[in-house]
Subunit: 395 residues, 2 copies
Amino acid sequence: MIDINKNFTQLSEDYLFRNIALKVAKFREENPNKKIIKMGIGDVSLPITKNIVKSFHKAIDDMSKKETFKGYGNEQGYDFLRENIKKYYQNRNVILDIDEIFISDGAKSDLGNILDIFDNNINVTISNPVYPAYVDANIINGNKINFINGDISNNFLPTLDDKCKESLVYICSPNNPTGAVYDKDSLKNIVDFANRNNCIIIFDSAYEIFIEDQNLPHSIFEIDGAKNCAIEICSFSKSAGFTGVRCGYTIIPKEVKLNKISLNKLWFRRQSTKFNGVSYITQVGANEFFSEASQKEIVNIVKYYKRNSKLIFDTLTKLNILCYGGVNSPYVWLKTPNKESSWEYFDLLLEGLGIVGTPGVGFGKNGEGYFRLTGFSSYEDTILAMNKFEEFYKK
Amino acid sequence: MIDINKNFTQLSEDYLFRNIALKVAKFREENPNKKIIKMGIGDVSLPITKNIVKSFHKAIDDMSKKETFKGYGNEQGYDFLRENIKKYYQNRNVILDIDEIFISDGAKSDLGNILDIFDNNINVTISNPVYPAYVDANIINGNKINFINGDISNNFLPTLDDKCKESLVYICSPNNPTGAVYDKDSLKNIVDFANRNNCIIIFDSAYEIFIEDQNLPHSIFEIDGAKNCAIEICSFSKSAGFTGVRCGYTIIPKEVKLNKISLNKLWFRRQSTKFNGVSYITQVGANEFFSEASQKEIVNIVKYYKRNSKLIFDTLTKLNILCYGGVNSPYVWLKTPNKESSWEYFDLLLEGLGIVGTPGVGFGKNGEGYFRLTGFSSYEDTILAMNKFEEFYKK
């Protein structure tokens, strides 16, 4: 017997960002001379920093000489990089063993592939709105998804309830798309619930570097008890500008068990079987991210993007458009001012202002009537976009 | 309900290459001054070629400037690279559309991840002996594996029989570990069988570049009818020396369907959801592989490795050790001369000669009593190893 995975037929036909790309391409074709300001897909715009670039070149030199050439590395990544990630967490008083850290080609791969270690048809808890790839990966696996609703009443920070028992819980904090961040108390409630109710948490911390409020947790492992129930998935995409370089990491403490089986061991085996590690060149560059010199460069980049998101937040607020995020996140999440649907607002901004954003409904039902703008454009383009907003809404 | 994927408990405890690494580490600890010649894991030893190195540096320069920086690319890869792969196939009269080519971070990832588009519990046909990752990935997915036996009687080129109907058929040609290559007639039989009996073929062509016999097919798509039933997975690992760089590609013709569903569309969706493309730097380097200048460099590298495998083949044959492969493959597959088991022979070579090879049984039951050596070492080490063999067996 052979058959396709029929769960694919349950996926909705198109993927959010692909739809946006098609609409933009059409607009560009019809308006070849109009400038388009991209504030849609969460892609960075600043180049790789000088020190990381230097490391990349050095790594390539290594690959060009017989004495320093690197072939297959460990599937779980080079120790030098894992040691530095360990130290990065140590600075927040999170003590990890390097065997608990797995280097990957990006958070998106791991967020999907992690499902390999779980049964099919399991219960999954996903906040709504959220990054759409969680949902699609779980549909492909045939899992039963229970959405927990983020909305104005809970500041887009949903909590767990009885329906979430015995489930795999996805938490994204700072949240994509809303920019909402769980504080330690609310995260503690989630961790305690998970430990009491046989849940495993997948904590997506891809945007942790944008947190500026000293009291907010960057890692779920800052919370007592999380090491018994949580997997953390992070990325160099937004911090080191690696969206086009592809590197991330997944942390599975050895204590995390399901029916007495260590998930760390299962993931190790999954990766040993279906993955062959990340490019040596990429890992050397990612490693440089942690140097003192690079951290200084990175701080400036984060500041640059956040100046943009603050400008967006402040401008829209001044125009009486209700906004979330923008402070501990590169994203500004706005309520469409005249009850436009998310896609109506997309068309309005694209056709009226030449601005590409992301329709909130693309992140789930609860995103309908909302819209995401990002601070990842250039400062100049962000000013330009905000001027267009002001002009448009002052008419 | 939440549970682990219980199929993991069906995996045998350890992975072949990890076992070897452990034994070698132990030997090294106990014999710190003895030279070890590595002819075990199929890893290349020559550095990346000059032109590809140049392209890598150029790609990094692109990433270091705002004007040329690349963020997210298409999940399926850059068109420039796909166009060149298309041309590479065109040279063998295989006409592809670039939408049929998906760039990946290596064959191992795709060989495992491709199972996502198939149902669980499907029938799978795997030749034995073969690259062990096929088996483990299928166990993880809960599939029912039917082995087809390669042995002396069929020159390690098993054919399909009634038990293979309605199954996913893995074919690796040139075969890892035996070095055996299907000719066009035998491959045509497999393709015809697949088309008659609702099979899908996964054709692993990772070693195609080592084929020197002009009559042997490099791609399954050189065979009439293959476009209706085959997926081909290839890699830059052995051809461009990318074992540590990670790049490969998967070809799914649009005509390949299962129950009227296009597998190309399913894989496109799978990759869009659970993968985010390969590093721009890597893709620029892989692209350079196809230039005239690089192809000349690559020819020399392949010659270098094959001089090694020929030397191994000739030396062992002279010593009356039965050998396969070595001609259209970097691998020499030998029958242990004194009925040693594969692991006994591993210990004998490591402890007696300081040579690391791969126990044949690691590639499946039919590999018991066989052993794999590779031409991927340096020429100097290969000579040294062969001198040790001669000395040992002439005693």
